[in-house]
C-alpha cells in the first residue's frame, strides 16, 4: 500500500505554468460503521466510482489554461470491487482513513498553491451526512472509531480554505447521500478538512462549484461493483452532454453551469428518484475543454416517404474547408452519429418529384443533438 502522500498519476511533462491538481477519494468499506445509530450499511460502488473518475481524469481531462499535473487517490474498496479491479494499479491507492485523507489533503493543497491560477478538483464518494446544505460530511473508512465525526471529510471548511490563495477555480464533486444527521445533539463541527483561513486574503476563485449527487436529505445510488449513477452521469456529461460552444470563435467546452444543468437532466433521466444538487458558487468558467467536438446522434425524418427513392443527400460541416459526405436517404427516419457543429444538408432529387437542390442549415449540439424534418415533396 502506498503512503498517503503518493501521487497516483503525474503526466510526463508538467509545464511551469498554471496546472490542475486532483484528489479522488472513494470509500465503500467501513471498518467501524455505526450501523445502529446511523442505519448505514457497507457500500459496493463508491470506491469503483472514484477509480472510474480518476481514470477519466487521467485519459480524458483537458484544460489548456491549467493542464492536469497530478491525481492523488485514496480508497477503501469492498471485496467485490477488489475482485472487479484485480490487477489494476488503483488497488494500490492508500486507504481512505481519516489520517491518510488529512495528509493527502494537505499535500494536495500545497500542490494547488504551487503556481498562480491553478485549478483544484476534489471528487469524494461514500456515505454522506449533512448538517445543512452548505455543510456536508462524507464518511471515511474509519468513521465510528470514535463517537464523533472526526473521521469524516468536512466539505465547508475545505471549500473556504481553497479560496485563500491563488487558485483560479475549484470543483468539488460530492458523490454521496445527503442524509440528515440522525442525532441533532451530535457534534458536527469536527471532521477532516483543509484549514479555513486564519489570515485575511481575498477569495481568489472565479468559480467554486460543488456538485452534490443527491439533494439535501435524499439518497444517491449506484450499481454494485461498477460505479455510481452520479459518476456515470458525470463522465457522460463531461464527455458529451455538457459540452457547449463557448466564446467567439466558439470552442467546445464544459462550463460550470452547463455541467450543473446537464448533470441534473441526465440524473433525472437515468434515476428519477435521485436529484443532483449544485452548491457553492457556480460562477462561469470552463472546467473541461475536450480536444474534439463531441459526437452524438442526430435524427433525420424525411416526408413524404414515397419520394425517398429519388432523394440524394450531401452533408457538410459549415466550418470552412470541411468535406461533404453523402448521406444515405433510403429510410424515412434514421439517425446518424455526427460530431457536433453547424451543418448544411443539401438534398437533391432526380425526377420525377419536383424538388431539387434544397439546403437545410442546422445546428447539432448536446444534449439532444439535431432533430431535422426534411420536406422532399
Amino acid at each position: 500500500m502506498c503512503p498517503a502522500s503518493t501521487v497516483w498519476y503525474r503526466p510526463p511533462k508538467i509545464p511551469e505554468a498554471s496546472k490542475t491538481h486532483a484528489l479522488v477519494i472513494g470509500t465503500s468499506k467501513y471498518d467501524h460503521l455505526p450501523t445502529k445509530t446511523l442505519k448505514l450499511g457497507q457500500l459496493d460502488c463508491a470506491a469503483s466510482a472514484a477509480y472510474e473518475f480518476a481514470r477519466w481524469l487521467k485519459h480524458s481531462y483537458r484544460n489548456d489554461l491549467a493542464p492536469l499535473a497530478s491525481i492523488r487517490g485514496l480508497a477503501a474498496p469492498s471485496d467485490l470491487e477488489r475482485t472487479a479491479y484485480r490487477g489494476n494499479d488503483v488497488l494500490l491507492w492508500p486507504r481512505s482513513t481519516g489520517d491518510q485523507v488529512q495528509e493527502a489533503l494537505e499535500r494536495w493543497q500545497d500542490d494547488c498553491f504551487d503556481y498562480p491560477r491553478n485549478v483544484a478538483i476534489l471528487y469524494v464518494s461514500g456515505h454522506g451526512i449533512v448538517e445543512s446544505p452548505d455543510h456536508p460530511y462524507v464518511l471515511l473508512q474509519d468513521i465510528g472509531r470514535h463517537d464523533n465525526f472526526n473521521n469524516a471529510l468536512s466539505i465547508a471548511p475545505t471549500q473556504i480554505a481553497l479560496g485563500v490563495r491563488t487558485l483560479a477555480a475549484s470543483a468539488i464533486f460530492v458523490d454521496s447521500c445527503q442524509q440528515l444527521s440522525p442525532k441533532p445533539e451530535w457534534d458536527l463541527s469536527g471532521g477532516r478538512h483543509l484549514n479555513a483561513p486564519r489570515i485575511a486574503l481575498n477569495e481568489s476563485r472565479f468559480a467554486r462549484p460543488i456538485y452534490f449527487a443527491a439533494a439535501t436529505g435524499a439518497a444517491a445510488f449506484g450499481v454494485a461493483g461498477e460505479s455510481t449513477f452520479f459518476c456515470r452521469a458525470l463522465i457522460r456529461c463531461l464527455d458529451v452532454l455538457a459540452v457547449r460552444p463557448v466564446g467567439k470563435p466558439p470552442t467546445w467546452a464544459v462550463t460550470t453551469t452547463s455541467l450543473a444543468e446537464a448533470l441534473m437532466t441526465e440524473i433525472a433521466r437515468t434515476r428519477p428518484k435521485q436529484r443532483v444538487q449544485p452548491g457553492g458558487s457556480l460562477g462561469l468558467r470552463n472546467i473541461h475543454v475536450p480536444e474534439r467536438a463531441p459526437t452524438l446522434a442526430s435524427r433525420f425524418r424525411l416526408r413524404p416517404a414515397q419520394n425517398l427513392p429519388w432523394a440524394r443527400g450531401l452533408l457538410r460541416n459549415a466550418s470552412p474547408g470541411a468535406a461533404s459526405i453523402p448521406l444515405n436517404l433510403q429510410s424515412s427516419e434514421f439517425q446518424e452519429e455526427l460530431a457536433c457543429g453547424d451543418y448544411i444538408l443539401r438534398v437533391s432529387s432526380t425526377p420525377p418529384p419536383r424538388f431539387n437542390e434544397r439546403e437545410h442549415h442546422f445546428t447539432h449540439i448536446p444534449p439532444d443533438g439535431a432533430d431535422i424534418e426534411i420536406d422532399i415533396e
Binding site: E131, S132, P133, D134, H135, S154, A156, P157, I160, V164, L180, P184, L188, S189, G190, G191, H193, N195, A196, P197, R198, I199, A200, L201, N202, E203, F206, A207, R208, A215, T216, G217, T257, A260, E261, M264, T265, A268, R269, P272, K273, V276, Q277, P278, G280, S281, L282, G283
Partner: protein, 433 residues
C-alpha cells in the same frame, strides 16, 4: 406577477420508465405551439407561461395524450399522470406538513402560537388570528412583534415545528402576517405567505441549480438597486441570497450591507454582510457579524441559516497552529491587519455555532423561509386528535386552536379539455374532460 403560473406534474416511477424512451416524458407547449419547457423535474413545481398551454405525454410507439389547460396568472396547479390520464391534484385545504412528514387526516385541528425574539417567547402584543377564504390564516398584531417572529405549530401525531414569519405594516401601527397553503408543493403545507412569487420562483431555480434562470429573474432588482436604495427589505434579502449562490458576491455592495439595519431582517442582513466580508478576506469581521446574528435570533430565510452555520462551523475548525507560508507583502497587506483569527475566535465560532443549532432538531431545507422542528419532544399521539377539548385545557392561553376540514376534490380538472386525440381509447379514458 403577470404572465406566469406554477405547474407541477407528478409521474410515478413505473410510468416514467414506460415514457422514458420519449424523454422528456411530458412536454408543455404554449399557445403559439412552441416548446417552451419540458417537465423534467418530476413532482417539482415549475414556472410556466399562463394562459392556454398544452401538456403532452407520449410513450414510444403510442399516440400522444394531450390535454389543454387554462392557467390564470399566478395560479398554481398540480397534475398526476397515471392510467394514461392527467388528473388534477387538489392540495388539501389545510393539511399540516411537519418537517419531513405530512398529515393526511380528513379533518381535524391544530394549535398555533406566535413566538418573538431570540429566546422565542410568546408574543406579548395583542393579536387576532382569523381565517381567510382560501383556507389560510391572517394574524393581526397590535404592534410590531420582536424579531424573529415564529409560528409554533402543534398538530397531532407530529413533533412541533416552527415557521419563521415576516410582518407587513397596516394603518395605525398594526402589523399583519399570513399563513397560507403552499399550493406550489404537491403536498400542501402551511407556511408564511408574504414572499414575492417571482423571487420565490427565482429561489426555486437557484435551489435546483438553474442559476442562469434565477439570475435572469433577479436582474431587474439588481439593476434597480444599483441606482436606488431597496425599498423592500424582504425582497432585497431574497435577491442577496440568490446573488450569493450565483457567486456574484461583489454585486451586494453597497445595498446588501445595509440590510442589517432592517429591524425585522437584521439577522439575514448580518449573514449577507458576513458573506461579503468573507469574500473580501475579512474573516474576523465576518465572524463577528455572525456572532452578533446569533444574539439576535434566527435569519428568516433558510438560505441564511444554512450559510451561517456552514461558515461558523468552518471558523470553528481553524487550526491556529497551522503554518502560514504567506510572503511578506501578503502579510503586510492593509486588508489583513487586525483580521487574523486567534484561538479565542475559534472558540467563539464554536459557541455561536452551537447556539444557532441548539434546540433545532430538523430543518426543511427546501423551504423558502425557515421551517424547523425544535429539539425533539415527543410528538402528540394521534388519538389526541379526537380529544381536542381535553388538549385545549392542557395548553396555555398562548395557543390558538384552528379547526380544519378537507374538502373532497374532483379527480379531473374542470378546466382541462381534450384536444388532439388520435386514440379513441385514451379519449374515452379522460372522464369529465
Amino acid at each position: 406577477m403577470n404572465g406566469w403560473a406554477f405547474l407541477t406534474v407528478q409521474m410515478p416511477p413505473r410510468v416514467m420508465a414506460e415514457y422514458e424512451p420519449t424523454f422528456p416524458p411530458v412536454r408543455l407547449e404554449s399557445s403559439d405551439g412552441v416548446d417552451v419547457w419540458d417537465l423534467r423535474a418530476n413532482g417539482r413545481a415549475a414556472r410556466v407561461p399562463s394562459g392556454v398551454v398544452r401538456l403532452t405525454a407520449q410513450a414510444s410507439g403510442a399516440p400522444p395524450i394531450t390535454v389543454t389547460l387554462e392557467l390564470g396568472d399566478g395560479e398554481s396547479r398540480t397534475y398526476r399522470f397515471t392510467d394514461r390520464q392527467f388528473r388534477v391534484v387538489q392540495p388539501r385545504q389545510l393539511a399540516i406538513a411537519g418537517v419531513g412528514d405530512a398529515f393526511r387526516g380528513a379533518s381535524g385541528a391544530f394549535f398555533v402560537r406566535f413566538l418573538e425574539g431570540p429566546r422565542r417567547r410568546p408574543v406579548r402584543a395583542t393579536h387576532i388570528v382569523s381565517g381567510t377564504a382560501d383556507g389560510g390564516l391572517t394574524v393581526t398584531f397590535e404592534r410590531e412583534p420582536g424579531a424573529p417572529l415564529f409560528a409554533d405549530v402543534l398538530a397531532p401525531g407530529h413533533s412541533r415545528f416552527l415557521l419563521s414569519l415576516a410582518t407587513t405594516e397596516l394603518p395605525e401601527g398594526y402589523r399583519m402576517t399570513r399563513l397560507s397553503v403552499d399550493r406550489h408543493a404537491p403536498t400542501a403545507t402551511i407556511s408564511g405567505d408574504l414572499a414575492d412569487p417571482e423571487l420565490r420562483a427565482a429561489r426555486q431555480f437557484a435551489w435546483g441549480g438553474n442559476l442562469g434562470e434565477a439570475m435572469h429573474l433577479v436582474r431587474p432588482y439588481l439593476d434597480d438597486y444599483r441606482v436606488n436604495e431597496p425599498t423592500n427589505d424582504l425582497e432585497a434579502a431574497a435577491v442577496a441570497y440568490i446573488v450569493i449562490r450565483a457567486g456574484d458576491v461583489n454585486a451586494l455592495f453597497p445595498w446588501g450591507l445595509e440590510l442589517s439595519r432592517s429591524p425585522r431582517l437584521a439577522a439575514d442582513g448580518l449573514v449577507v454582510a458576513a458573506e461579503w466580508f468573507a469574500e473580501a478576506g475579512c474573516h474576523l469581521t465576518a465572524l463577528n457579524m455572525l456572532r452578533r446574528m446569533t444574539s439576535m435570533g434566527f435569519p428568516l430565510f433558510t438560505d441564511g441559516y444554512s450559510l451561517a452555520i456552514a461558515r461558523l462551523a468552518s471558523y470553528a475548525t481553524v487550526d491556529i497552529r497551522s503554518r502560514s507560508d504567506l510572503d511578506k507583502d501578503e502579510r503586510q497587506s492593509a486588508m489583513m491587519i487586525g483580521q487574523e483569527l486567534r484561538e479565542w475566535n475559534r472558540l467563539e465560532a464554536r459557541a455561536a455555532h452551537k447556539q444557532l443549532t441548539r434546540r433545532i432538531a430538523q430543518v426543511d431545507w427546501s423551504s423558502y423561509w425557515i421551517r424547523a422542528a425544535p429539539r425533539p419532544r415527543l410528538p402528540l399521539p394521534r388519538f389526541l386528535r379526537t380529544t381536542w377539548d381535553r388538549l385545549d385545557t392542557l395548553l396555555t392561553s398562548d395557543w390558538t386552536r384552528i379547526a380544519w376540514q378537507v374538502h373532497e376534490s374532483p379527480q379531473t380538472d374542470p378546466n382541462a379539455r381534450s384536444t388532439t386525440w388520435q386514440d379513441r381509447k385514451s379519449k374515452s379514458d379522460l372522464k369529465g374532460a
